[in-house]
Amino acid sequence: MSVQLTVNGNPVRTDLDPETPLLWFLRDELGLTGTKFGCGIAHCGACAVIVEGNSVRSCVTPVARLDGKRVTTIEGLSSDNSHPVQRAWITEQVAQCGYCQSGQIMSAAALLAANKNPTDEEINRAMSGNICRCGTYVRIRRAIHRAASDMRETAR
């Protein structure tokens, strides 16, 4: 079975076993290694990518489900780290070890695409599926508020 999808704006096709997790297709076949393997059972969020606007766990998502879908990885969020969430991440110096941050950034981007001005509570709930073992949650929330503010400014 051949699966055709769009990854970071580029049409791609794969004949891999349809049950192959999207994560391995991205990393091993396309060389997009920004998306990380964490727990492998959708509990930590390190592997999050955006599929049709939703923050999907690529470690458990079979490629067969992606037929005809648009996938955005951390590499496709911007070509020069200029996405408001990426800029805010740098400004707020969010990352400590950094392993979770690509998943965190993708979930934050998905949240802000749907909610331009989230409250602390909305951020906490939306980001609860992304775990940071370094405990940088306060900086993550601050960066999301900053990115939201930048996005609202730009939209004016």
Partner: protein, 186 residues
């Protein structure tokens, strides 16, 4: 002659009453079996009241990650849609997300909440189109017979117990209950 007719009519009336009682008793017994499934963790973990998160595990603890129902029963924001993690099949690894086509909770408008309710309350909610998703009895039989998420209850993946009856026993009991006029326990 006249006395004989009256006696016969009386006997028929009494036997009809007994038959009705027997049928109702059979329906109530069948519903006890139905309720044992509906209130098992495989069903009740998603059949929770509005405002409650979905539950997880055989101990029915709140779903990790602050997951919420949303209006359509499929999650309340783009980072927390059910299908972000739940696929069309179970992840075979222990503690991996279970899955079936259309994975979701009942929608907020018809939550079909069984959690914490008595068998009588579940019975009345199940029959009422206002609370059962506007389903007729034939819709309900179809739902318990062939709905993907119902069938998943008997294929829940590793680490999750099965409901107390087989799927066939559950469906049979459901049909007996409906045929008996769907009586509800107090």
């Amino acid at each position: 002659m006249r006395i004989t007719v009256w006696i016969l009519a009386g006997l028929i009336a009494i036997s009809n009453l007994f038959a009705q009682d027997t049928q109702k008793d059979g329906g109530l017994r069948a519903f006890r079996d139905v309720a044992s499934v509906l209130t098992s963790p495989r069903c009740v973990n998603c059949h929770v009241p509005v405002g409650s998160p979905p539950l997880q595990g055989d101990d029915s603890h709140p779903h990790n990650m602050q997951v919420a129902r949303g209006t359509d029963g499929k999650g309340d924001n783009p980072t927390m849609r059910c299908s972000n993690c739940h696929q069309d099949t179970n992840v075979s690894t222990l503690h991996g997300p279970p899955g079936a086509p259309g994975w979701s909770m009942p929608p907020a408008a018809a939550p079909m909440a069984w959690y914490g309710h008595s068998a009588g309350q579940v019975c009345r909610a199940l029959k009422d189109p206002q609370t059962n998703g506007n389903r007729s009895f034939s819709d309900l039989i179809r739902h318990v017979t062939s709905e993907n998420l119902v069938n998943w209850g008997w294929n829940p993946g590793p680490g999750r117990t099965l409901p107390p009856l087989s799927h066939q026993q559950f469906v049979d009991a459901f049909k007996v209950w409906v045929a008996a006029g769907a009586p509800c326990p107090e």
